[in-house]
Amino acid sequence: MTTPLDALIAAERSRQRGVLRRAALYAALVAAASVILLGLSGWFITAAAIAGLAGPAVATAFNYMLPSAGIRLLAIVRTGARYGERLASHDAAFGALARIRPAVFAALAAQPPAVALGFTTGEATARMVGDVDAIEMRFVRRSAPWGAAAALSAGLCLAALGGIAAAVLAAACTALLLIAGRFLSERIAAPGRAVQRAAGQLRDSFAGLADAAPELRCFGLEEWAATRIDAQSRVLAAAQRSHANAAAWFDLLHAGTIGIAAAGTVALAAGSGAPRAALAALAAAMTVDAAGPLLRAMIDRGRLIEAQVRLDAVFAPAAAPAVRARVRDRAPAVALTLLVDSCVAAPGTRLALTGPSGSGKTTLVEQLLGLRTSAPGRLRLGGADVTTLAPDGLRRCFAWAPQDAMLLSGTVRDNLALANPEADDATLWRALHDAALDARIRALDHGLDSWIGENGARLSGGERRRLAVARAYCADAPWLLLDEPSEGLDGASEALLAERLVDRLNRTGQGLIVVSHRPALTAICTQRLDLAPGAARLRDAA
């Protein structure tokens, strides 16, 4: 079955086709040059010795120019081609990884909200870093078969000079090595997969415990937490060790086969004379040697399989996505119908959502944004049930300032641009002014380009919230959706915020849905929807 990840890798492979072909070509050159280089050297020495023994006349007649030039040429070709092969294959691999990593984020964002928001930061990050890294091997090792094949062709031709039996032995040794490697790779797959899983779990359990510092300290659990993470770390290290131990068998197998191939060919090729026997033996040894990259690919098979399984969990569409109606982009003119109480909010309406905490105000807001599933028939937008609308069309209609600000780690500008990347500085300052935050931002060292820290750590709570409001002001949407925008502001600041909000609404004609208990904000609304159980739902604010 082709998974979305496979399709992505296949697309990258075809995008990098040229580079990968070059890598394969270089790999073939390296392997063939190595085989011929050693074979030729062995033949040259042995033949020269025999010619030398035969006397000065024969020695002078011996054509030494061609072989010795050949040896030097092959040495240079091998070195250059190996550099080229490594560079090309890694170039292809890292070019592909740089595309697959953001694709992990895109795939995560495209999942239904319940799935996407269910991934912990640790789980998602482990996949984007650790598991995508493992995919590298699918690109780097692609040239391995070409190198092995080129070495085999060159090696068999040279070994055949020492007799058919020698050539057959060289081929048999390579084949046996690959078959045994294949068998070993089945056994090594389990520890390889364990390595990949353990690395992900270590990231996850670390992220889970690292944020509970006060509780850990109060209950004297710091040691306990360290031990727990340590246990994960040991599982990972033990998995890596047993993988390395299993992989070490490949060393034994490889070197042993080289020795046997060389010794066997020299014996079988004896009949063709010492020079050819030397040539056959060294060529056979290098032929088997050139299978090394193929063996290394086998070693990493388990890790690769597990990494792909883990990435598929992000890429695979979770349980058939609901069939969505096409985007009905009637944006600026939609009438928003909240069916909670058949409350009809026409464009430009200013609606206060009230009710005690827990009565579902924030839930309602998140349902409007398609971040939460809602019961069909409860919310309608422009005549259509929101559950049937594509999220993109839905979200186009709202500019949201969430309760907990939710700022990006970056600059003030980064945060504002999230809502509207095309906004110019004047627009940004206007939004900051309307959120009563312009003076504060102007006072920062770098103005709009000041760094605000992780989730706005360098700002106070009230400032964070107002930055989130300013961000919502930057978006060009028919409805403003403000969740407790003035929580934590003093009376004067709140009054200023409310006053400028009214100015803004008068100017833009946007509608407003505001979640708030504060009179300063409910007073600017024309309608009020009380979500308290049993409350007289809808009433005019007046």
Binding site: F44, R217, C218, S233, G358, G488
Partner: protein, 561 residues
């Protein structure tokens, strides 16, 4: 981010002192009880077996005219040497892996210790620590498993090969020795150039990890503003940067190993040509020796082995660079500062804050400035204010998790020393309770593993957990997963409260215990808290007016709005 930037500037130039410190640090974390020495011994034995292989092949070639029977012992020697080489390589790899396992787990313990003891508001993000714990520690793997044994072997093995070569042909040995110098110079030059690139690669990796983790956290707002594509592109740029920097590191590594190979290949070709001409008696100078076919072949087969240990070293050079870069970054992590435990005061405990200011290192503004109030013994005080106003920082201060800038905190009249912690005599319940995979009982008794069944029953009742436990299969012994699946926010908060009650501590610290609860759940929990905290000196951080209503005194922390 601050962490990377700090680590990036921590080492302006590789001056000698820094290099020595780093070496010392690496030696300390990689002390493995002599495993590297054993791995080295196997690598040296590998060179000995290589001599056997070359000798076997040369003997077999010489014996060709005498027939197959005469060749067999030599061919057998070659085959056996080949197998022995494999065996030694395998053992060396296994022992190296065992050493790496020990070094990595030990180092991870140290970093995890630093992460668990850091200030919750410190500049180093969890994402950056995660990158340190997993990826940067992993850099030690190659260093311990491959580089250290290879470095020691590179000093000894070539001499063995050289001696064996000299026995057959002193001139060839001379040629090999003479090519050693440019070889080593090339290696050093290549190594120096790669160090800087390697550091940049780590910075790029930590930046990408932080960036990605941040955007996963903020995913709802990214979705709401339909910025998925833009953020994907931004992550793509970080990923591109990582790829480009990785390629730069590899380019240098490949170029250096390429130049080493080139030198090695040229020297081997030089030896081959010398041997050939010597055998043909065509040398333009008077050779001090006369080679025969066996000796010539032996020398030729052995020549590549002379460089093999150094090529192995060069191949592991990237591991060394990575480990040194990681060492610089990891050594820059804050050291674990164990909080000094204060002696358990007797009698009623009050807590007096006097003009307390908390300022985190590197932050321009104080988290809390000039706050004074008293929590009388056995009473409840609520800190009321929006998030970010420093309520939590004041609670963290009592646990030694936030730095006291100025002012004093007196506990039962005794001033709290900087960095000291009340953890011994305090209990804690917060808004994101720690829940571990296992049973509910296990999560509860984290606070006090020795608690009796009767004590557990009492706190379960007090915290109002009874209805929930009745509804769950297995009751207290029912399973829960680490994310508290199947538990509502209120139930999690109640578990945290029950756990806090289980510890017989005179001080109770509650951090937003009712945040994001619905009205009914909040009201119920507030009643529970009122009863449960009776008699304990209690400090509650909250932005709920209703919860603050149960306090004997309310302290309003102004927001610099």
């Amino acid at each position: 981010m601050a962490y990377e930037d700090r680590a990036a500037t921590a080492r302006p130039a590789p001056d000698r002192i820094a290099a020595r410190d780093r070496r010392r640090w690496l030696t300390a974390v990689t002390a493995d009880g002599g495993r590297a020495t054993t791995a080295t011994q196997f690598l040296v034995l590998d060179s000995v077996a290589a001599i056997g292989f070359a000798g076997g092949l040369a003997g077999a070639i010489v014996a060709v005219p005498q027939g197959v029977a005469a060749m067999l012992p030599w061919a057998g020697l070659a085959a056996a040497s080949g197998v022995a080489r494999g065996l030694f390589a395998m053992l060396s790899a296994r022992i190296g892996a065992a050493g790496a396992e020990g070094a990595k787990t030990a180092l991870r313990r140290r970093i995890v210790g630093a992460a668990l003891h850091r200030d919750p508001a410190s500049a180093i993000t969890t994402g950056a620590f995660m990158s340190a714990v997993v990826d940067e520690v992993e850099a030690l793997d190659g260093y311990v498993a491959r580089f250290l044994p290879a470095r020691k072997a590179a000093a000894l093995a070539p001499i063995l090969i050289l001696a064996a070569t000299a026995a057959a042909s002193p001139v060839a040995a001379g040629i090999l020795a003479a090519t050693l110098l440019p070889f080593i110079v090339a290696m050093i030059l290549a190594g120096g150039a790669a160090a800087d690139q390697s550091r940049r690669q780590f910075v790029a990796l930590a930046r990408l990890t932080s960036h990605f983790a941040d955007r996963v956290r903020a995913l709802p707002i990214i979705l709401a503003f339909r910025a998925e594509d833009r953020e994907t592109r931004a992550i793509g740029r970080s990923a591109d940067e990582l790829s480009a920097r990785t390629m730069r590191v590899l380019r240098v590594a490949f170029l250096s190993s390429g130049s080493l190979e080139f030198f090695a290949a040229l020297s081997v070709a030089l030896v081959a040509v010398y041997c050939g001409f010597n055998l043909l008696h065509l040398l333009p100078f008077a050779a001090p020796e006369e080679l025969d076919i066996g000796r010539a072949f032996f020398v030729l087969a052995l020549a590549p082995e002379f460089y093999a240990p150094m090529r192995r070293l060069a191949a592991a050079y990237h591991d060394k660079q990575a480990a040194e870069t990681a060492a610089d970054r990891l050594a820059a992590l804050p050291a674990v500062h164990a909080a000094a435990a204060i002696p358990m005061p007797t009698g009623p405990i009050d807590i007096r804050f006097d003009r307390v200011t908390i300022r985190y290192p590197g932050e321009a503004r104080a988290a809390v400035s000039d706050v004074s109030f008293t929590v009388p013994a056995g009473r409840i005080v609520a800190l009321l204010g929006p998030s970010g106003s420093g309520k939590s920082s004041l609670l963290h201060l009592l646990l030694g998790l936030a730095p006291l800038g100025s002012g004093t905190v007196r506990v039962a009249g005794v001033p709290l020393a900087p960095g000291a912690s009340l953890a011994e005599i305090a209990s804690w319940a917060g808004q994101h309770p720690l829940i571990v995979a296992g049973t509910i009982c296990e999560t509860l008794t984290l606070a006090r593993p020795a608690a009796t069944a009767r004590e557990i029953d009492a706190v379960v009742r007090h915290a109002g957990l009874t209805p929930m436990l009745h509804a769950r299969p297995g009751s207290l012994d029912g399973p829960i997963d680490a994310r508290g699946g199947g538990l509502s926010g209120g139930e999690r908060r109640r578990i945290a409260l029950a756990r806090a009650l289980l510890k017989p501590a005179p001080i109770m610290l509650l951090d937003e215990p009712t945040a994001h609860l619905d009205a009914e759940a909040e009201a119920a929990l507030i009643t529970t808290i009122t009863v449960a905290c009776r008699g304990r000196t209690t400090l509650i951080a909250t932005h709920s007016e209703r919860l603050a209503g149960i306090a004997d005194q309310i302290i309003r922390l102004g927001d610099a709005a």
